[in-house]
């Protein structure tokens, strides 16, 4: 594990995307490793969402290539991304408020019986196991999501991403709407993802805890990868410098330099 020779879970090479005249992403290359949390930062319009949408197959990259565990792959549609285990947890969470926790976790992948029938009992059992593994405490997995708190919803959304076979989890602003305690809960969740050997990308504006929960920091600026560095060698001031462009570009990409995390 974590040996320099091991290929990254997913590698993006020279990915570019333009919307008409606007260059949303320019020549971005990035490696994501199993068991590693990457913080994806950048100002509004820097290209963070575009990058996530390309990885999740919702946008098609104009140029560039992808490798999954060393072999070339294409990501043209959301189904391609899903097949590679790439799962996105959106900012608005995309949960169905009027459905139970269990159904939300297995939405679109409900356990079936005789092909057409939903195996509700298995679904609820599996949901319980999943929530326990992630150390998430809810009154009941039968509760409708509309009765949950923001942190609990984030937990349900993450559980779904994992239930969908997610190995590469893209979290879009996971703590944006949360209070202090719920933010802590989500950070614990992210840490437990690392223990389960997932590759996690966290998009965030919140710089306060980002160095504590990530292994590496990627900063996008004007569509370019401006900085990519181990969190342990980075300070908050440096990040701000990169985001605003005051500091010069600083990209250290490649498996050799990865500081594979202890659980901080």
């Amino acid at each position: 594990m974590g040996k320099p020779s091991k290929p990254p879970l997913i590698r993006l090479s020279n990915v570019s995307k333009a919307f008409g005249q606007v260059k949303a992403l320019v020549d971005v290359s990035l490696d994501l490793h199993a068991g590693e949390v990457v913080g994806l930062l950048g100002d509004n319009g820097a290209g963070k969402s575009t990058l996530i949408k390309i990885l999740s197959g919702n946008y098609h990259a104009d140029e560039g290539s992808f490798e999954y565990q060393g072999r070339p792959v294409t990501i043209n549609r959301p189904a391609d991304a899903q097949a590679l285990g790439i799962a996105t947890v959106y900012q608005d969470l995309a949960l169905v408020e009027t459905r139970s926790v269990a159904h939300n976790i297995y939405l679109g992948r409900e356990p079936r019986r005789f092909g057409y029938f939903m195996d509700r009992r298995k679904m609820e059992r599996d949901a319980n196991v999943m929530l326990e593994e992630l150390n998430i405490r809810l009154a009941s997995q039968k509760t409708d999501v509309e009765l949950l708190s923001g942190g609990q919803r984030q937990a349900v959304a993450l559980s779904r991403a994992i239930a969908m076979g997610g190995n590469i989890l893209l979290l879009d602003e996971p703590t944006a709407a949360l209070g202090v305690e719920q933010t802590q809960q989500v950070h614990h969740l992210i840490t437990s993802m690392r223990r389960q050997d997932k590759a996690v990308v966290v998009i965030t504006h919140d710089l306060s805890d980002i160095l504590d929960i990530t292994d590496r920091i990627a900063v996008l600026r004007q569509g370019k990868l401006w900085a990519y560095a181990p969190s342990s060698e980075t300070t908050t001031n440096q990040i701000i410098g990169w985001i605003t462009g005051v500091a010069p570009p600083h990209v250290r990409n490649g498996a050799g330099e990865v500081n594979k995390g202890s659980d901080r």
Binding site: Q82, Y90, V96, R99, H103, G108, R109, Y116, M118, K142
Partner: protein, 316 residues
């Protein structure tokens, strides 16, 4: 059971059930003719044809849609079957073609709503006028009298003491309830009504499922049209004209939200029964016929107001 009571939808059902019992008690006390087997069969007979359409509408609305054209679809299906019967087409084929014609109209609704992304209220308001017009144009406004034929049994026959229309209606209710609760597709329809974007994100075929709800709704309306025609021995282009509002009222009374994702067929059944009992009771009490609409409107308004208050306000 306690966790079941926590679900808001179940409170709606309990409220409806108590209301129904109170209405039955009231009318039984006021009229000696009310609490009789004969009268309950009458009520069942009165609600079963519209009820079939209401069942289809419930499914459409759970998935977040709406269909105003369903009564017009029933009228067209009635005209088609009656024309075919007068042409002495094979009886089985008559039924198949009548319901298929309704299915085609439903597919057109689905096309407008799912493919061309037209708001379902507007799309089916358009097709309501269009289909109703077709029903009138087909004969220049005349009725088609078919008298007694192979299909008469469907509308007039009875089995084990109850009309076949009532048995058919109950069968569709039970099948529909099983479908919505136990199948993956039924659960997906609930989820689509709750948050269609979320369903798209996880790869559920939202448009296809939604499209099918309109087709299924139209086929049920077609069956209702067939039943109505065989019951009266006449196909009227004006059949069920204006009934769409009554049907929507029953569905809303039953706890289905306009926004979708909530409620169920049991609620619709209770909504239909309440409206059926009131209608029947007022007739037995010889209340002036115009009060019917006033009372039904009042019940709907009271029901949705209570529901909204309990939920802390639904419309924002």
């Amino acid at each position: 059971m306690i966790s079941a009571l926590k679900r808001q939808d179940n409170w709606t059902l309990i409220g409806l059930f108590i209301t129904l019992l109170m209405l039955i008690a009231l009318f039984s006390w006021q009229s000696e003719f009310f609490f009789t087997t004969r009268n309950f069969i009458n009520i069942g007979q009165a609600i079963s044809i519209r009820g079939l359409i209401a069942i289809g509408l419930t499914v459409v609305m759970i998935a977040g849609g709406l269909d105003l054209s369903m009564a017009a679809v029933a009228a067209v299906a009635g005209m088609v079957t009656a024309s075919l019967i007068t042409l002495e087409v094979n009886s089985v084929l008559v039924g198949v073609l009548g319901i298929a014609a309704a299915g085609v109209l439903g597919s057109f609704n689905a096309l407008l709503i799912v493919k061309f992304r037209i708001n379902p209220i507007i799309a089916t308001l358009g097709t309501l006028l269009f289909y109703r017009g077709l029903a009138f144009v087909s004969t220049g406004g005349d009725n088609i009298v078919i008298g007694v034929n192979a299909w008469s049994e469907l509308g007039r026959g009875s089995w084990l003491g109850a009309p076949i229309t009532v048995w058919l209606f109950l069968a569709v209710v039970v099948l529909g309830m099983c479908f919505m609760r136990f199948t993956v597709a039924g659960n997906h329809l609930y989820a689509i009504g709750g948050n269609s974007e979320a369903c798209r994100n996880v790869g559920i075929r939202v448009d296809r499922l939604r499209g099918w709800t309109y087709v299924a709704q139209a086929c049920l309306a077609g069956l209702a049209g067939l039943m109505l025609t065989s019951q009266s021995g006449t196909a009227l282009p004006s059949a069920l004209n204006g009934a769409e509002l009554d049907i929507i009222a029953a569905v809303l009374l039953g706890g289905i939200a306009l926004s979708g994702g909530r409620g169920g067929l049991l609620g619709t059944l209770l909504g239909l029964l309440i409206i059926g009992v009131v209608q029947n009771g007022l007739i037995l009490l010889q209340v002036q016929i115009y009060w019917q609409s006033v009372v039904r409107g009042a019940i709907l308004i009271i029901a949705v107001t209570l529901d909204s208050l309990r939920r802390g306000g639904g419309y924002r």
